[in-house]
């Protein structure tokens, strides 16, 4: 192997990389907050909601979980404009991630709700709370705490999956790597560097989620 | 000549020393009950004899087989002592017969027909020959524990370690298991049992060992230990029962 590794380009192209990191972080931040919120609503609907809503949510969840994120992204970005819904690359990427994480977190959170002891619902009812009030004040937080590790893993998976938004020219970290490799022909180095950055981002994201978890669920022993 | 020699055995979990120098010699055919509060180290001692826990200091040998922490020595030792657990630990994916045959075939390389003959004989001994093809989850707790005893006996050990073998059983099932143990004792099997069944210990055992805070606090024949406890700790322990 006569290949000489060369990382000198890093100096020249670091603004692109920093910008790419920024977009990737923005995408996952918006995706996580909105996606988990959507997931909570859907989980409520599937576990405790009105009968007519359940199959609708179930169809959404199954459809998203059984198709590739790339195709969801293409459908939203290339397909929806023919219905008159024109979206920018970033908007499409954001929506795709929210929709995707929404479906996965729905299933995860639903499992947490279903693991709630029956007595919690009965206790809520006996205190004259409505079903929704019981859900909101009694069931939700312990349910989230129960599945927080699984949910955190899913957020990391979605962040790593976001690499494909570069394919609709959203200027994320992968887009930067592609840009650099097309300019410098240093494909291997460009991808190694961005892979390492993704790894660091994944580790940081996991820690951030653990901290957020500690903040939302200060009591460890609550079940 | 002792069958089991336990000399100066010490065992710690991190900072916490649970066995603080245990000496105990067991003669062939002896039936020994180890009693004491939970946390006194009695289960740990039993598990050390079988090499399920590694000891920090001291030595243990069974009929000349030294307890050393490598697979060859452990295997040699474990062929001599069988162990029965509180939670039975039958293999759920095998039938009763399969449970009793497996280690004969795998460890001792006994041919299958012979292993089966032995298995049927051992199950007969614990009164469960008719359950040969049943699966563990189809049996009561008492029956499962008797299968576990048959499984250990099939390896033809010279001693058996029993770790609170009736503690996980419903009260009405305790007697059938103890009856099997009583019979083993009568046949001359060397037994070391951690137990809470004081009446059984009094009736069957040749010696009682009272453990307290990681030490052997009092030893003696049951009539002495139960009738004339020497230390306040043992008095208090017996008073609780």
């Amino acid at each position: 192997m006569n290949y000489q590794f060369e990382f000198g380009w890093l100096l020249e192209y670091y603004p692109q990389i920093v910008k790419g990191i920024g977009i990737t972080v923005q995408l996952i931040a918006v995706g996580a907050v909105a996606g988990i919120s959507l997931g909570i609503c859907c989980a409520w609907a599937r576990a405790l909601g009105p009968a007519w809503l359940k199959p609708v949510v179930a169809a959404y969840v199954e459809l998203i979980r059984n198709t590739p994120f790339l195709i969801q992204l293409f459908f939203i970005f290339f397909g929806l404009p023919s219905l008159g819904l024109q979206l920018s690359e970033l908007q499409a990427a954001n929506i795709a991630m929210i929709v995707n994480l929404g479906a996965y977190s729905c299933e995860i959170i639903r499992a947490g709700i279903q693991a709630t002891p029956r007595g919690q619902f009965e206790a809520g009812a006996s205190l004259a709370m409505t079903r929704f009030e019981t859900f909101r004040h009694v069931v939700l937080v312990p349910s989230l705490q129960r599945i927080w590790p699984a949910l955190s893993s899913q957020v990391v998976i979605v962040m790593l999956g976001s690499a494909v938004v570069s394919q609709i020219a959203a200027e994320d970290l992968t887009f930067a790597a592609n840009f650099i490799q097309s300019r410098t022909f240093r494909a291997f180095e460009a991808y190694i560097v961005s892979t390492i950055i993704y790894l660091v981002l994944a580790i940081l994201l996991r820690q951030a989620l653990a901290i957020v978890g500690g903040f939302i669920f200060p009591r460890r022993t609550a079940r | 000549m002792s069958l089991i020699e336990i000399t100066e055995v010490r065992k710690s979990y991190g900072e916490n020393e649970v066995l603080k120098g245990i000496d105990l010699d067991v003669a062939p055919g002896e039936v020994i009950a180890i009693i004491g509060k939970s946390g006194s180290g009695k289960s740990t001692l039993l598990r050390c004899i079988n090499g399920l826990e590694t000891i920090n200091k001291g030595s243990i040998s069974v009929a000349g087989a030294q307890l050393l922490d490598d697979e060859v020595h452990l295997k040699a030792l474990r062929l001599k002592v069988g162990m029965i657990f509180q939670q039975f630990n039958l293999f759920p994916h095998l039938t009763v017969g399969g449970n009793v045959m497996l280690s004969q075939m795998v460890v001792k390389k006994t041919p299958k027909p012979e292993a089966e003959t032995i298995a049927r004989k051992m199950l007969e001994r614990v009164g469960l020959a008719h359950k040969f093809d049943a699966y563990p989850d189809e049996l009561s707790g008492g029956q499962q524990q008797r299968v576990a005893i048959a499984r250990a006996l099939a390896m033809q050990p010279i001693a058996l370690l029993c770790d609170e073998i009736t503690s996980a059983l419903d009260p009405e099932l305790v007697a059938e298991v103890l009856a099997v143990v009583r019979e083993l004792a009568a046949e001359g099997m060397t037994l070391l049992m951690v137990t809470h069944e004081m009446k059984f210990a009094r009736d069957v055992c040749s010696r009682v060992v009272f453990m307290h805070q990681g030490r052997v606090h009092e030893v003696g024949p049951p009539e002495e230990v139960f009738a004339r406890p020497q230390t306040p700790e043992l008095k208090q322990f017996l008073g609780l029962h």
Binding site: F69, F78, L160, A163, A187 | Q87
Partner: protein, 219 residues
């Protein structure tokens, strides 16, 4: 300009679906074999081997599959080999799948009760015998539902190989879209085909899991 009927589009997509299926199958099988190796490293008694497997798994689970594909595609080229897309795709997917399957299966092995290890040890079995006769038979039962479930991730993962130029269902979708200018229909159909491949697997994984739980409760 040629008019494309829905049937024309569908036929082209289905032809490409063959390659999605072949690639998924190869990745799953290869990933399973490598994953089994990883499992044994991960639960071995040697700490160095355990760490090695853990780093491997962290690396492949902590970086995007797309990057792994890029590195396989461009990185192998550095050795002077001209890497065809199918090779890079297969290689990257196998290594990626192995990391996940290895970790799933480790969980299954660890789910076997500690008493099973102790009982088999007390009967004189060595580590390999314990694994072969006592632990793995039980772990395998628990492993079936999540393993089937993960096959769905593998099928969806193959979609990314279109980006390095492997022609399968997703790539065909893009090609057909460029020819027909009907992205809504084409990507809709692509999604439905993926759904038809994945949903039966997801569903059977769920059903198997439920059966297993019922069986467990009867214990």
């Amino acid at each position: 300009m040629i008019e494309f009927t829905i049937w024309d589009i569908l036929r082209n997509l289905l032809l490409a679906t063959r390659w999605t299926i072949v690639l998924s199958f190869v990745s799953f099988l290869g990933g399973g074999i490598v994953g089994l190796g990883l499992l044994f490293l991960r639960i071995s008694k040697r700490k160095s081997l355990r760490s090695l497997a853990r780093y491997y798994i962290e690396l492949f689970q902590g970086t995007p599959l797309l990057m792994q594909l890029f590195i396989a595609f461009f990185g192998l080229g550095l050795f002077g080999v001209d890497v065809p897309a199918w090779l890079a795709a297969g290689l990257a997917l196998i290594l990626w799948t192995a990391a996940f399957l290895g970790e799933i299966w480790r969980g299954c092995v660890e789910a076997v009760a500690k008493g099973q290890w102790e009982a088999s040890a007390s009967l004189g079995m060595g580590w390999l015998q314990q694994m072969r006769y006592v632990i793995l038979p039980q772990a395998m039962k628990v492993a079936v539902p999540p393993t089937v479930g993960f096959s769905v991730q593998v099928i969806k993962g193959t979609a990314l190989t279109s980006i390095i130029g492997f022609v399968e269902l997703s790539k065909a979708g893009t090609v057909v879209t460029n020819a027909t200018f009907q992205p809504f229909t084409v990507y809709g159909l692509v999604a439905l085909i993926y759904f038809a491949l994945c949903w039966p697997l997801s569903k059977s994984s769920q059903i198997l899991e439920r059966k297993l739980n019922v069986a467990h409760r009867n214990h």
